[in-house]
C-alpha cells in the first residue's frame, strides 16, 4: 500500500516534470533534453538536403545547426518539414527552430519570428534543354507559356503578382514542378538559387534561365515560434557570431552558396 503510494507519487512527479519544463525557457529545455530539434526541408539541396540514397543530411543549414547545437552542448535532431507545413510544425512544437533558408515574407512574419537574414536569393527559372520556346528570361512571361510554382513557396506569391501573359500553374509539391516541366505540361518552373544548383548538378535535362538583373530577391533566415525572447536572442547572437568569425562563409563555401551569403 505504502509502496503503491510511493509509486503513485513518483508517477505524479514524472508527469509533472515536463510541465515544469514547459514553464522553463526553450533554451533550458533544449539543454535538459540534450537535443536541438531542427526542422529541415529534406529536399532543399545545398541547404538541408537529405540524400535519398543514403539518408544522410548535408547542406549549409545542417552545418549551421550542428554548430549551433555544439555551442549549446547538445546534439541535433533533424525533423522533416516543408514550406507548406513549416508554420504548423513550429507552432505545434515539433521542432525548436526551422533552419532551411526560409524566405522572409510578410505572410510568414505574421506567424513566425525570424532571425536576421543570412542568405539572399533571387528567383531563377528552370526549363528543359530542348525547350525551344524559352531562351531568355524575357521569354517566360509570354502568351502560351506555362509557369509552374510549388504551393506555399514564396515564388507562388511573387509570380502571381508578376506574371501578365503566361499561365501560372501552382503544384502541390516542389517535385511536381519538375515533372511538369519535364513532361512538357509546363515550360518553366520558378525556384531559388540553391534549388537551381540542385537541378543543374543532378538533372541532365535542366537548363537555368537567370534574370538579366535583379528580379525579386528574398532574404533567407531561420524561423522560430514567437514568444521566447531568450532563445531568439541567443540564436541571433550565435548567427551574428557565425557571420563574424567566418563559420557561415566557410559553411557556404563548402556547399557552393557563397554568392548568396548575406552579411
Amino acid at each position: 500500500m505504502h509502496r503503491r503510494s510511493c509509486f503513485s507519487a513518483l508517477l505524479l512527479i514524472s508527469l509533472l516534470l515536463p510541465l515544469q519544463a514547459m514553464a522553463q525557457g526553450r533554451l533550458e529545455r533544449i539543454v535538459e533534453r540534450g537535443t536541438l530539434r531542427v526542422c529541415i526541408w529534406p529536399d532543399y539541396y545545398g541547404i538541408s538536403f537529405r540524400n535519398p540514397k543514403t539518408g544522410r543530411p548535408s547542406g549549409i543549414d545542417i552545418d549551421n545547426a550542428n554548430d549551433l547545437a555544439r555551442r549549446l552542448g547538445v546534439r541535433t535532431q533533424f525533423v522533416n518539414s516543408s514550406f507548406a507545413t513549416l508554420i504548423d510544425d513550429l507552432e505545434s512544437d515539433r521542432c525548436d527552430i526551422a533552419m532551411f533558408a526560409i524566405g522572409i515574407t510578410p505572410a510568414r512574419q505574421e506567424r513566425l519570428r525570424f532571425t536576421q537574414p543570412y542568405l539572399l536569393s533571387d528567383i531563377y527559372a528552370i526549363t528543359t534543354r530542348s525547350n525551344p520556346r524559352i531562351n531568355a528570361w524575357e521569354d517566360i512571361d509570354r502568351p502560351g507559356i506555362v509557369v509552374a510554382v510549388a504551393r506555399g513557396t514564396l515564388h507562388e506569391g511573387v509570380m502571381k503578382e508578376k506574371l501578365r501573359h503566361a499561365e501560372l500553374r501552382v503544384l502541390e509539391t516542389p517535385h511536381a514542378r519538375e515533372y511538369e516541366v519535364q513532361s512538357g505540361r509546363a515550360d518553366v518552373f520558378m525556384t531559388d538559387y540553391p534549388y537551381s544548383r540542385r537541378m543543374l548538378d543532378n538533372s541532365d535535362w535542366a537548363r537555368l534561365v537567370a534574370p538579366p538583373g535583379k528580379f525579386h530577391t528574398t532574404p533567407y533566415a531561420w524561423a522560430m515560434a514567437p514568444g521566447d525572447d531568450a532563445f531568439h536572442s541567443y540564436v541571433e547572437r550565435e548567427l551574428q557570431a557565425m557571420k563574424m568569425d567566418g563559420r557561415l562563409m566557410t559553411n557556404a563555401v563548402r556547399h557552393r552558396l557563397e554568392p548568396i551569403v548575406f552579411r
Binding site: R129, S130, Y179, Q182, S183, G184, R185
Partner: protein
C-alpha cells in the same frame, strides 16, 4: 657503268619514296574506311539503344492501358482511371497526359483535368483505326500542349513551323464489356529529342522517330519537318525489305550520312539514326593531319636524305671522272714529254718510267722497274756528290742539278735532274719523282760557244796587245824624236829653224800624248790596268790641278776656281795617279770647250762616296750625245776633233778608270749652257 649505277640508285630511292607515300596513302585510306565502318557501327548501336527505349516507352503506355482493361475490377473505367492514373503517371516525363476517351473521341477522364470533356479527332492514325486487334495506333505530330488544344496536323509546312508545343497521340483500345474505350497517351516529343541530342550531339548526327508508314514523328534535328514522309531518305524503301539495316546515303537536305534504322520489336514505329559523315570524316581528317605532322616531315627528311645521297653519289662520280681525266692528262703528259720521268717508292725502287726516259737511257721500262736509279750512275761523280744529293732529297725533299749518267749502251749523257718528294695530304712520303732533261746536245753547243768566245777574246786580246805593243814601240822612237828635238833646240839655231823645230816638238808631244792615251785604253781593254792603293790627298790634288789649268783658262777669258766646300777628310786611299788622270781629262775638256764664263770644281765626301764635280759654261752636249761621248774614239760632234783636237779617248778612258775604281762618271748637260761632270768613287779609308 656509273650512269647505270647512278640511275639504279635514283630508281631505288624513288621507289622507296613512292613506297613510303603509298604506304602512307594506304594507311590514310584504311583509317578513312575504318572511321566510316565505325560510324556505321555506332549508328547501329544507337539505333538499337533508341529502339529499345522507344519500345519500352510504348510498353509503359500499354501497361497502363491494360491495367484499365476489364476483368481487373468491377468498378467503372472512369473510377479506376481516377484511382490508377494518379500523380505517379504524371511523373513520367515522356507523357504529357494519359486520357480515357469513348468511341466518339470524347475525353472521359485525364491525368490533366483540362482535357476532360474535349473531343479527340480519331483520324490520321497508323494503323488505320477500325481494326479490332488490340494494337497501338500512332498519330502524327499534333500542335498544342495537350489534347485540350491539340490540332491534328498531317504535314507541317515549312512556313508554319513554330516553336509551339506539340505532342504525338497514341491510341490503345480497351474493351469494357459492351463499351469500347480508348486510352490516349500524349507523347512528349521534347523528352525524346532531349534524350537523343544528349546522347548524340547535333553536330554528330540526329535521331528520328518514324511511323511504320514512313511518316516523321519527331527528330532531334530542328530542321526536320515532322509530318512528312521521306525525311529518313532511303530508310523508307529499305523498311519494306528488312526491319533493321544500315546504309550510307545522302539525305533530302543534301547531307551525306551514315544511317541505321530499327523497327520497334512490338509497335508500328521505328528509330532512324543518321550520323553526319562530314563530322566523322572531319575527325578522320584531324587524325590524318596529326599523322601527317609526324609522317610528312619524316618523309620529307628521308626524301631529302635520299636526294642528298644521290647528289653526293653524282658529285663523287663527277670528281672521279675529273680525276680520271686529270690522270689521263697527266699520263699523256707523262708519255708525251721529252723529259725522262721516273717514279720511285720512298725506298728508291723505280715503279714507273715514261717513254722519254726509255729513249734517253736506252733501258726499257721492264728493265728498270723495281731497280734503283743508281744503275744509271756513270762513275763520273764522286761519292760525296751522291751523298749530297741524297741528303738534300731527304731533308728538303728536293734536289736538282746536272749529272752525267750512263746509258745502257755505255755512252754518257748530260742531264739536268730534278728530284722531288711526293707527299700525301698528311705529309707522309709516298713517292719520289725524278725528271731528267737530256742536255748532252746543249752541253756540246755550250762548249762550242765557249770555244768561239775564247777564240774571239783571244783575237781581241791579240789586237789590244798589238795596239799596246805598237803604241809602246812607237813611243820609244817618239821619245827619241822628242829628246833629239830638245837637244837640237838647245843648240844654236836661227829663228826659222827654231820655229820649225818647235813645230816638230809640239807635233811629237801631241803624238806622244795620243799614243799614251791609246796605250791606256789598250791596257784597260786588255784588263792589264793595275790600280794603286795609296794615300790620297784630294784637297791638294784639286788645288794643284786648278792652279795648273787656271792660266790656260784665263788666257781664254774663263775663270777657273775651286768652289768653297767642307774640307775633305784625311786618310783617304786610292790611286792618286789615275784620279789625277780623270780630273785632268775633265778639266782639260772644260777649258777646251768653254769660251766664256767660268769653270768650277767642287768636292765632297758623303754616304761613303767621294764626289768631285767639274762644271763649265761651255758649249754643252746634246742629250742624245751624252752617252756617246763616253765611247772610245767619239766626240760629241765629229767636227770637234778638228776644232778642238784630241783623240776622243779621254772621256772613255776616264769612265773606264772610274768604273775600275768601283765608281762612276756621269754627265749632266744643256747645249749652249754648259756641262756638269760628276765623278763618284767609293771613299776608301784603308
Amino acid at each position: 657503268m656509273s650512269i647505270h649505277r647512278r640511275s639504279a640508285l635514283f630508281v631505288v630511292l624513288s621507289l622507296l619514296i613512292v613506297g613510303w607515300l603509298g604506304a602512307y596513302a594506304f594507311t590514310l585510306w584504311r583509317l578513312r574506311t575504318a572511321a566510316l565502318d565505325n560510324g556505321i557501327e555506332a549508328a547501329v548501336t544507337h539505333a538499337r539503344s533508341f529502339e529499345k527505349h522507344l519500345t519500352q516507352t510504348f510498353e509503359m503506355i500499354e501497361l497502363a492501358a491494360v491495367g484499365l482493361a476489364p476483368g481487373q475490377s468491377t468498378d467503372s473505367v472512369g473510377t479506376r482511371f481516377s484511382e490508377q492514373m494518379n500523380d505517379a503517371l504524371r511523373k513520367t516525363p515522356y507523357l504529357r497526359s494519359l486520357s480515357l476517351i469513348d468511341e466518339e473521341g470524347l475525353v472521359l477522364a485525364s491525368t490533366s483535368p483540362g482535357n476532360v470533356g474535349g473531343k479527340v479527332a480519331l483520324r490520321g492514325f497508323f494503323p488505320i483505326i477500325g481494326d479490332d486487334s488490340p494494337t497501338m495506333h500512332i498519330g502524327s505530330l499534333w500542335l498544342g500542349r495537350d489534347l485540350a488544344d491539340g490540332i491534328a496536323e498531317t504535314a507541317l509546312a515549312d512556313d508554319t513551323r513554330n516553336n509551339g508545343p506539340a505532342f504525338v497521340p497514341v491510341l490503345r483500345r480497351i474493351d469494357n464489356g459492351e463499351h469500347r474505350h480508348w486510352i490516349v497517351a500524349a507523347l512528349n516529343p521534347e523528352y525524346f529529342t532531349l534524350h537523343f541530342s544528349q546522347l548524340l550531339p547535333g553536330e554528330e548526327g540526329h535521331v528520328q522517330i518514324l511511323r511504320h508508314d514512313g511518316l516523321l514523328l519527331l527528330s532531334s534535328n530542328p530542321l526536320d519537318l515532322p509530318g512528312h514522309a521521306g525525311a529518313a531518305g532511303q530508310v523508307t524503301e529499305w523498311l519494306a525489305r528488312q526491319e533493321s539495316g544500315a546504309l550510307r546515303q545522302i539525305l533530302p537536305g543534301g547531307n551525306p550520312v551514315l544511317s541505321a534504322y530499327r523497327v520497334s520489336s512490338r509497335f508500328p514505329a521505328l528509330v532512324a539514326v543518321h550520323l553526319s559523315q562530314n563530322t566523322i570524316l572531319e575527325r578522320w581528317r584531324d587524325e590524318a593531319r596529326r599523322i601527317s605532322l609526324v609522317v610528312l616531315p619524316i618523309l620529307f627528311a628521308l626524301s631529302a636524305a635520299a636526294f642528298l645521297v644521290w647528289l653526293r653519289q653524282r658529285r663523287l662520280e663527277e670528281r672521279e671522272d675529273e680525276l680520271s681525266n686529270q690522270r689521263k692528262l697527266a699520263e699523256s703528259v707523262f708519255a708525251a714529254t721529252n723529259n725522262g720521268v721516273f717514279l720511285t717508292t720512298p725506298q728508291g725502287d723505280i715503279i714507273a718510267v715514261n717513254p722519254a726516259f726509255e729513249r734517253i737511257t736506252g733501258y726499257t721500262a721492264s728493265e728498270v722497274l723495281g731497280r734503283n736509279p743508281r744503275l744509271l750512275a756513270s762513275g763520273r761523280h764522286d761519292e760525296s756528290f751522291y751523298r749530297h744529293m741524297w741528303e738534300s732529297i731527304q731533308t728538303v725533299g728536293h734536289w736538282d742539278g746536272e749529272i752525267i749518267n750512263r746509258r745502257k749502251d755505255g755512252t754518257l749523257f748530260h742531264g739536268i735532274v730534278n728530284i722531288n718528294a711526293v707527299l700525301d695530304d698528311h705529309g707522309r712520303l709516298k713517292h719520289y719523282v725524278g725528271v731528267t732533261v737530256d742536255i748532252t746536245e746543249r752541253k756540246e753547243y755550250e762548249s762550242q760557244l765557249l770555244l768561239a768566245k775564247e777564240r774571239a777574246e783571244a783575237a781581241s786580246l791579240a789586237k789590244t796587245t798589238f795596239l799596246a805593243t805598237v803604241s809602246h814601240e812607237l813611243r820609244t822612237p817618239m821619245n827619241g824624236v822628242l829628246g833629239m828635238t830638245e837637244v837640237l833646240l838647245r843648240s844654236p839655231l836661227d829663228e826659222r829653224q827654231r820655229r820649225q823645230l818647235g813645230i816638230v816638238r809640239d807635233s811629237a808631244v801631241s803624238l806622244l800624248d795620243i799614243l799614251n792615251q791609246i796605250l791606256d785604253y789598250s791596257k784597260i781593254e786588255s784588263h792589264n790596268l793595275q790600280l794603286e792603293h795609296l794615300p790620297l790627298d784630294v784637297n791638294s790634288l784639286i788645288r794643284d790641278l786648278s792652279a795648273l789649268f787656271a792660266p790656260a783658262a784665263l788666257a781664254k777669258g774663263v775663270r777657273l776656281h775651286e768652289l768653297p766646300h767642307a774640307p775633305l777628310p784625311e786618310g783617304l786611299f786610292g790611286d792618286p795617279l789615275r784620279l789625277r788622270q780623270i780630273l785632268t781629262n775633265l778639266l782639260s775638256n772644260a777649258v777646251k770647250f768653254t769660251r766664256a764664263g767660268e769653270i768650277t770644281v767642287d768636292a765632297d765626301v758623303s754616304d761613303g762616296c767621294l764626289r768631285i764635280v767639274v762644271s763649265d759654261t761651255g758649249i754643252g752636249i746634246a742629250a742624245d750625245k751624252q752617252q756617246q761621248i763616253f765611247e772610245a774614239f767619239t766626240q760629241a760632234d765629229g767636227s770637234h776633233t778638228r776644232e778642238f783636237g784630241g783623240t776622243g779617248l779621254g772621256l772613255s778612258i776616264s769612265r773606264r778608270l772610274a768604273e775600275a775604281m768601283g765608281g762612276s762618271l756621269t754627265v749632266d748637260s744643256t747645249p749652249g749652257q754648259g756641262s756638269r761632270f760628276t765623278l763618284s768613287i767609293p771613299a776608301q779609308f784603308s
